[in-house]
Symmetry: C2
Subunit: 539 residues, 2 copies
Amino acid sequence: MEKKTKLVADWQTLMRTFINHEDDASRSTLVKYMEQIFFGLHDFLKKHVGITEEVSLKDLSKNFTNTLISENPEKKLADVITDLVENIAPHAVNVTSPYFVGHMTSAIPFFMVHLKTIVAALNQNVVKIETSKVVSILEKQVIAKIHRLIYEEDESFYERHVQNIRTTLGCFIEDGTLANLTAFWIARNSMLAPKNGFTGVEQEGIQAAYKAYQTERCVILVSRLGHYCVKKAGGLLGMGNQNIMIIDVDADNRMDMDSLKKAIKDIKNSSIKTKIIAIVGIAGATETGTIDPLSEIGAICAENRIHFHIDAAWGGPTLMSEKYRHLLKGIKLADSVTIDGHKQFYMPMGCGMVFFKDPSIMDSVSYHANYVNRPGSVDLGIKSLAGSREASSIILDSALKIMGSKGYALLIEHGIDICSEFAGEIEKRPDFQLITRPELNILTYRICPFHIQSMLAQSNPEQICSINKKLNKINTAVQRLQREAGKSFVSRTKLKISNRHGKDIVVFRCVIMNPMTNMKILNEILDEQEEIFRGIEEL
Amino acid sequence: MEKKTKLVADWQTLMRTFINHEDDASRSTLVKYMEQIFFGLHDFLKKHVGITEEVSLKDLSKNFTNTLISENPEKKLADVITDLVENIAPHAVNVTSPYFVGHMTSAIPFFMVHLKTIVAALNQNVVKIETSKVVSILEKQVIAKIHRLIYEEDESFYERHVQNIRTTLGCFIEDGTLANLTAFWIARNSMLAPKNGFTGVEQEGIQAAYKAYQTERCVILVSRLGHYCVKKAGGLLGMGNQNIMIIDVDADNRMDMDSLKKAIKDIKNSSIKTKIIAIVGIAGATETGTIDPLSEIGAICAENRIHFHIDAAWGGPTLMSEKYRHLLKGIKLADSVTIDGHKQFYMPMGCGMVFFKDPSIMDSVSYHANYVNRPGSVDLGIKSLAGSREASSIILDSALKIMGSKGYALLIEHGIDICSEFAGEIEKRPDFQLITRPELNILTYRICPFHIQSMLAQSNPEQICSINKKLNKINTAVQRLQREAGKSFVSRTKLKISNRHGKDIVVFRCVIMNPMTNMKILNEILDEQEEIFRGIEEL
């Protein structure tokens, strides 16, 4: 019998939540909750096809101001679920909508949710073998699988390393920011390694390392389209984020090789003694989806013995497509590669990964404790930025088995193909201007009616600047109004266009990864933008 | 009709995995899988009450060596689930067993799995408001709730800050290691802040910062029982991990105040110009569960204007117990506090948190990008070590509502009370020696028969060393044999015992957080250890 009285925390009720449900009655309760979650959310989404409810953040936040933890239980699980389905979900963002094409978050296959449930139910902690056992072994295997996808070393290499307790081909971590940080941390330690009485930067610090290596500055080189986490890593690692040197991009938004070569030359000739910790190649820039000339950067890094890191957080899984993997040619030259599982592996949030060409390079960051991670153990936490971690490897490994690389290839090819078609449609419409042509499944464009495009072509820098200023206002307003209308979502960013006098222009940014997103939907999105634009013009 | 033929990746099959299941047939399929997961795991656990199957890692790893990703699907979801239940789960570690008392991982309430499922199904990314909306607001609220639990500021303080887009009371991150790193990162930046033409350590780096502040070294002070991640943070942040200064502990394993004062004095008088970035107080040491004298450390930090960080990854939730919150007296003096959600908040893996007394202190680590995290937005990713993050706040907020602080208190008090009773039992048994008395719910002990204890009391240092060496071998062997037998699991570590000539001794480490763990079970564990010990003796 369910009591309708005030809820009270008591031991018996509490214990029931820890018991394995063995009888039929409690089993059906467990299932009832899961049904409530799945069907509640589905029913909700059926009714609300939009991205989010029309309510301002400010109004929303008024309901989230109580900061006292209730002493006694406030709600039963069923009510908490109802609340989440009815009051939180509608005001969250429906990232599963095919009209949500603004960010690198999208619908995921339903089985990903099932797999995450298994991971939570097993609740293994992969920091050490004693709380994970076979899952640590599984993690080593799936890391080797992705390593092989990237580096294509021979069978004997993987036989030697897949279950080798002394070597590490890569690791999982919360996200791409931390994966990139891991790579730069290791690159820094490799550059400022122990020598002649100096025990290494990890032990003695930057100050001592600069002295031992007669260096005044360490830098990382990355294109203007590099993710902002590269600067964050520079700040964290004690190099200073001003020492992340920005290299210009060419007309196609790829790192400009002449600029890179000049930067390296300037560094060598600089009066400030400088070491280059790493050069970053981007494989799928966050804003434009463009891919740097990886082979050429790789060759330059090899020539100059510089750590080559590739941020393939977005583009990495393109390697599974026979049709498009050539776009990432040169990726195997990288010393380290970041790939996010929660991006184009379509996994739920919280799965970054980083891979290393040299299976011993992570030795410079090994840490031990007496109670876990003893030297010589299989404990994965010995060489890892994070400590406790959930077993994301179970999700990735299972997904690879369910999908096959061809299944993933279908998703990735769909995104690239539709994005290319969408670019054509934008070029056909007189109100729009394509700004960055898609190399993968990301493009940018803006509202810039044909007669203004002609005007821009004939204007002087000052006039261009003034026209762009107005266009920026219009595009910002249209993006905001479309977002607030709640039916569809395209993000916006600011880009410098080459040869357009270096000024930032506001653009719509479109990321196509949802397989349900098709040309009909994208046309509707353009129609809506045109309509909003005409509404503004009339004002 | 299910086909028995070879699986092939095709678009139609793929699409079905992305569709919201609206008809009854596909709904029942969804539920069928969930039942398979829940009941499969439960049935398995019913049959296998132990911690893990008896098979060596080496043998296990032989089955995890294939490193090729299959082109076509290898398995259907149902088969993948069966495989996980039948072949992975038995060789993982049953952390839900009440006989698993070796690590800070345990059974969690079943509803935590449901909540994790909701988080995965919503798949929000809390890095930015555009992929999370209300969930970012919810996160700010629950962060404020825990902040209030720690700091107990007045209502007006929380009214001002709970939904303030310019201030930050704390943040979520993957785990305690990264939460502590966040705290030290911010402490470093506060110490080496911008001044007179110097733009701060984050921007200019350690080298320039040391020059600007006429410093040769930065140190962090932590007791001998500090988590190994403090050293890791020192390495990462460019200070050098050798500059994590270890302070001795007293007979009760708490930071020794005289040693701390002496260390500060020595640093002030040192010929090497040194700045103290932070002093760490531990609230629940990983190995012994002991709590440093927080009030005294807080007073010393205030007097010397040093950042006071408390690592309460383990002990933090003790604040919810009226009976035991006094053990953490002084916690509100901290400038920053780490608490892990996946420890004593009984959440699934992957939830660290860090809180700050000063709501503006995180300003020194704000990073922006053009497409997200614009200045002035509610985007939580502006001030955060990580980028993309799952919405752990939903789980914690819901759990607080379902449990109430009293519900949590019951769990925490059970652990502390049983642990204290267990200490009494260990002292009663002639074969055992209690090594560290529990302050919270962690204790250490070893096999050391009564006659040997007497012998030790009368021996000289050399004899003690030789006896301890033998005891270490015995205790290591017993722990290993018990673990391999697979029925129960107690971890082991090495501790220096005060006044025992500074040598490491091997001890059993017992962590009691599973509410199903009772004295009957703990006695069985001791019985088994005695039996194994006698078996060894006979050899």
